[in-house]
């Protein structure tokens, strides 16, 4: 009776079956397509229609893009090469790409803006990729704001050094005074001394040292700046300065001190209440008139200041949104730990508020970078202004798409990188419970 089971059941499997691949129609590209593209008659119809549309677009566009006109010397020459066919005239890009990138910067000095861009990336690395780059590079990041103008504009190295010295002097004054008086007064005293140094002493001292030991690069006038170099210079400065200024403004707006609060609210609302182009006109026209004749207040510097102020006001509101989104408990916890205001901001509030605001902050950055094209309206030769100038050359008059596609592509590369980086940063800082 030991085999009763065998008597009652015809077949018993005594080994496990190997796992099998899922049916080919449910995995891989085929499965994906079935699930997403052909999951019903409506979706199938839409898929077929859109594929036809895309195919039609490519059929019309690719012959235009793939056009043997790279060596064209003028629009009419391109038309001869094309011989009646439709096609782009890429000769204009070959002829003018350096101008579109560097403006009127002397060609033999192109290495300077290029080096500046490389150094910019090096300076940004420890800030952007804290996990992979040694924090020691931060010292270089701190020096970069003084290095950049020297490399781009040239002149003696002592001027940026003396500007940097102003910060050092301010810091020394702060440490000395803060031993005797409270922090607020020490900051004020330090700022005062630093400003006095910059306004009164920095230039003569720099000239004095330069006359002994020049160490100068060949100067390049602001007027020679143009193309993407101009856009990036203005954009990077505005982006770099607007974040700290924006944080200060956002904190000021939430401050309990009425004077600070009114000043910050007034500034933010005023700047947000006027279009950027108005501020640019103020920079180019009003200042020109109200400054005494002969004052050489660089137009690019004026524009940079205006764009920075504009971006700061928007940045302040973005960060204020982040501050407002933090639960009140976080503020109270910081108080309960006995942290003072600055420590609470630095250790508890800001890291969280900034993390919340990342998408908004990066949107503002991208917006500011694209807004730099507005400077063409006040006669600075940014890529769009340059496109207009290139079209005024009889050789290239009548060319639109090629130039705008090139400019658009370069802008896209910059803006898309910023947006991808912000997504990476959000993922990295993701601590929520999902």
């Amino acid at each position: 009776m030991s085999n009763t089971h065998a008597d009652t059941v015809l077949y018993v499997r005594d080994t496990m079956l190997d796992q099998q691949e899922p049916p080919a129609s449910t995995v891989g590209p085929v499965g994906w397509a079935k699930d997403n593209l052909f999951s019903g008659w409506l979706n199938t119809a839409l898929t077929v229609l859109s594929s036809l549309f895309i195919a039609y677009l490519l059929y019309r566009l690719i012959p235009w893009f793939v056009s043997p006109t790279w060596d064209g010397t003028s629009l009419s020459n391109c038309r001869e090469i094309l011989d009646g066919h439709e096609g782009a005239c890429w000769g204009v890009i070959r002829d003018r790409w350096q101008q579109l990138l560097f403006g009127f910067y002397p060609p033999e000095l192109y290495w300077r803006p290029i080096l500046t861009l490389v150094l910019l990336l090096v300076a940004l690395a420890p800030v952007l990729y804290t996990d992979y780059v040694t924090p020691k590079l931060l010292y270089f990041s701190a020096a970069f704001p003084f290095l950049m103008p020297w490399l781009l504009w040239g002149g003696t190295v002592w001027m940026p050094l003396m500007a940097a010295a102003g910060f050092a002097i301010g810091f020394v004054v702060f440490t000395l005074v803060s031993r005797v008086l409270n922090a607020g007064i020490s900051i004020f005293a330090a700022a005062l001394v630093a400003v006095l140094w910059w306004v009164l002493l920095a230039a003569p001292v720099a000239h004095g040292i330069a006359s002994v030991l020049p160490l100068a690069l060949e100067p390049v006038a602001s007027r020679d700046f143009g193309g993407f170099m101009l856009s990036i210079t203005i954009g990077v400065t505005a982006i770099g300065c607007s974040l700290p200024i924006g944080i200060v403004l956002a904190l000021g707006r939430r401050s309990d001190l009425p004077l600070v609060k009114i000043l910050c609210v007034g500034f933010i609302e005023f700047i947000r209440g006027v279009p950027l182009i108005t501020l640019l006109f103020v920079a180019s026209v009003l200042l020109n008139i109200f400054l005494p004749p002969g004052t050489n207040f660089d137009i690019i510097l004026r524009v940079m200041i205006m764009v920075t102020l504009f971006a700061s006001a928007y940045m302040a509101e973005v960060i204020r949104g982040g501050l407002a989104a933090l639960p009140k408990g976080q503020y109270e916890a910081a108080d309960a730990l006995g942290l003072d205001y600055w420590k609470a901001q630095r250790l508890i509030i800001m890291p969280q508020a900034l993390k919340i605001s990342i998408p908004g902050i990066v949107s503002t950055f991208i917006g500011v970078f694209k807004d730099t094209t507005l400077v063409s309206i006040i006669g600075l030769i940014d890529p769009l202004g340059l496109a207009n100038g290139i079209r005024a050359d009889t050789a290239w008059n009548g060319i639109y798409w090629e130039l705008f596609i090139f400019i658009g592509a370069v802008f896209f590369i910059f803006c898309f990188s910023m947006s991808r980086y912000s997504m990476y940063l959000e993922r990295k800082l993701q601590t929520g419970h999902r």
Binding site: N288, P292, I378, G385, A392, N397
Partner: protein
């Protein structure tokens, strides 16, 4: 309206600032370069070439003045200006002169307080049509759709012209010249109207320029010329007589090729001698070298040479001299005597 009042106030304020630094000639000499305002880009008149050098008909005037004052046609800082920034740039002293296809009008001369030193191009508003329209005169354009840039004087001129001739039209408002070209080629309008020089430049870019024609009617006066600030007549004289020297040089047959020869020794023609400084002291009266006109002419040639090189019939733009011919050839160019 408010805007113009505002800009007017700015300009007045600018004048006050400008007057303080009156002796422009001394400033230019001390600086060693001429700051000349040009257009950021206008076909044939001012544009940067592939090497970043500014070229064009207006640019040629700047170079001639630089050569006359400083003896060096390359001692010019070109300041690109837009239609909105040009007058404040001049009023505030950022530029010493403006050579930017600017129409000489009463209000700009009197109200904005500028001095137009002459005319280097007589322009006027014209019409371009596709030949298949079968129209030979603007008066036959009754009921036509017209592409026109909004907010410009061309819009007002057009309305005036059609009202005076009692014909109707339908405006197609567009923003920029680039847009106008696309719309016109696409057939969105029968007629495109703007300055005749602009029409010629636009037509030159078409794939089949022969299919389009510019009508003979010119419906407005647009004398374009270099200008300086009010209140510095010495400097105004320098620019005026440099321009006149270019015009007179063409009249007397002095070109960039033969100017060195003619200036090396006095010729039989006393007017040429005075122009080139081999006789008399005209240069010194201006506060310049005696041979200032020689440098100016050598810089880019006389008026006719500048015209032919940049916008004349052998260039893609292909403008005929027309009104811009010497008075001896039935044009309007007439330099006062160098005496």
């Amino acid at each position: 309206m408010k805007k113009s009042v505002f800009l007017g106030a700015l300009t007045v304020a600018g004048l006050a600032a400008g007057v303080a630094g009156a002796a422009t000639l001394d400033d230019v000499k001390a600086r060693g370069t001429l700051n000349c305002g040009v257009s950021t880009g206008l076909t044939g008149f001012s544009y940067p070439d592939a090497n970043g050098e500014w070229q064009g008909f207006d640019v040629g005037v700047c170079r001639a003045v630089a050569a006359a004052v400083l003896g060096d046609a390359s001692a010019v800082e070109f300041v690109p200006t837009t239609g909105k920034t040009r007058f404040t740039a001049l009023a505030s002293g950022e530029i010493d002169m403006l050579a930017r296809n600017t129409t000489w009008t009463f209000s700009r001369d009197v109200d904005l307080k500028f001095t137009f030193v002459g005319v280097n191009y007589y322009d006027g508003q014209g019409f371009m049509i596709p030949k298949e329209l079968g129209v030979s005169s603007a008066k036959e354009l009754d009921g036509a759709t017209v592409c026109i840039q909004t907010g410009t004087t061309t819009e007002l001129n057009l309305a005036d012209y059609f009202r005076v001739n009692n014909i109707s039209y339908e405006p197609v408002p567009i923003e920029t010249n680039a847009e106008a070209q696309q719309q016109f080629l696409a057939g969105a309008c029968d007629v495109y109207t703007t300055d005749a020089s602009g029409l010629a430049a636009t037509r030159a870019t078409f794939e089949n320029p022969g299919d389009y024609a510019v009508l003979p009617e010119i419906i407005s006066k647009e004398p374009l010329g270099p200008l300086v600030r009010h209140g510095d007549d010495e400097w105004g004289d320098v620019v005026r007589w440099t321009l006149n020297a270019l015009i007179a040089a063409e009249e007397y047959g002095v070109t960039s090729a033969n100017v060195a020869d003619l200036a090396s020794a006095p010729t039989d023609n006393p007017e040429v001698n005075r122009l080139l400084g081999t006789e008399g002291e005209l240069g010194a009266m201006l506060g310049l070298e005696a041979d200032f006109a020689v440098d100016a002419i050598a810089a880019g040639g006389n008026y006719g040479e500048l015209f032919e090189k940049n916008i004349g019939e052998n260039t893609p733009i292909g403008l005929a001299r027309g009104l811009n011919a010497q008075y001896t050839d039935g044009g309007l160019l007439y330099s006062p005597p160098f005496r």
